[in-house]
Symmetry: C2
Subunit: 168 residues, 2 copies
C-alpha cells in the first residue's frame, strides 16, 4: 500500500481476529522498526516480539489502557535506552511498524506504559531501560472504515511562515 | 511508493536541489502529519510551514546540527504542547511526513532543537509550547542510494518472548 494511503486510512484497531500473522509479515514489521532513522543513528531501541499467549494475557492484565493486548496473537514491546532522543526515536520506529502493518491489512494500537516495573519483570527487561509502549497487532475483527478520522481542521494545526498565521 | 519500500530505502538527506516542491506535495506532507494517530487522539501539535528564504536562513543559523536548513526551500517546524505523550505523538507525525515525502522523491532530515527561545521568537511561537524539531525538505542534490543503511543487526535489537532471547 502506498505511504499516503496508509497514513490517510490507518486507524487504531483494538479487536482482533483469532488469525495468526504469517512469520514473513512479522519480519516485515520488525524490519520496519530496525530500519527506521534515529538521532545520530543511535538506534536506542530494542523490540521484543511476544506471541506466547500466557505472556500476552499478562501484558493485557497489566495495561490499564490496553486490556485488549490479551486478545492479540502478537505484540511488540518497544524498549528504549535513557538517552535524550530515545522517546522520539522509539516513537518513529513504532510509527514505521504501524504503517507497515496497516499496509499488510493488519491493525494495531499504541499502548503506553509509564514506569511499570512488573512489565520489566515478566519480560526480563533490565531496570536501566524503559518500556515506551506495547503495540498489539492483528487482523481487525470488524471491517475498518475508509479512513474517516476525527482530526482537528488543517487551519487549527497548520500555519504559514509564523505561528498562528493562516494560508496566504 | 509502498510503505515497506519507503521505510527500507529512506535515508537522511542534507543537501537539496534549488527546485521548489509543488504546493500539492507540500499539502500531502502536512496532511500526513495532521492525519497521524496520537495518544487519546489528543493531537498535541502544530506545524509551521516555512518557505520564506530569510526565515529558512535564520533557522539554519540557529541550528547547530542543521545549518543546511538555510539551503532548503521548505522546512516544517513541529511545535508541541507540554503534555505527557506530546513528544511521542509529534515524533510519529514527523515519521509520517518523512515517509510521505520520501515516497514523492523528496528527502528530509530531523533537526532537533532543545529549548531555543530564539526559534520561538522568530516564528512567534508562544513560550508555553516547545519546538520538537525543524524538518527541512527538498529534492536530493546527490543521487541517493538504494537503501543501504548502517543499522544494528537484527539479533542485536530484536528478541523473542523475553529481553535478550534470540529467535527460536
Amino acid at each position: 500500500m502506498d505511504v499516503c494511503e496508509a497514513v490517510r486510512t490507518g486507524l487504531a484497531v483494538r479487536t482482533f481476529q483469532d488469525k495468526p500473522i504469517p512469520s514473513e509479515v512479522v519480519h516485515k514489521i520488525i524490519e520496519a522498526a530496525r530500519l527506521t532513522g534515529s538521532s545520530m543513528n543511535g538506534q536506542p531501541w530494542h523490540f521484543i516480539v511476544v506471541q506466547d499467549r500466557a505472556q500476552l494475557r499478562k501484558l493485557g492484565a497489566l495495561a490499564k489502557t490496553g486490556p485488549y493486548i490479551a486478545q492479540a496473537l502478537l505484540a511488540i514491546v518497544v524498549v528504549i535506552d535513557r538517552t535524550l532522543y530515545a522517546v522520539s526515536d522509539g516513537s518513529r520506529a513504532i510509527q514505521s511498524m504501524i504503517l507497515t502493518a496497516w499496509s499488510e491489512g493488519i491493525g494495531s494500537n499504541w499502548v503506553g506504559f509509564v514506569e511499570m516495573p512488573e512489565v520489566n519483570k515478566i519480560l526480563d527487561i533490565p531496570a536501566a531501560l524503559d518500556v515506551l509502549a506495547v503495540v498489539p497487532f492483528g487482523y481487525p475483527a470488524k471491517a475498518v472504515g475508509k479512513g474517516k478520522k476525527k482530526r482537528k481542521a488543517l487551519s487549527e494545526v497548520v500555519y504559514w511562515e509564523k505561528f498562528g498565521e493562516s494560508a496566504k
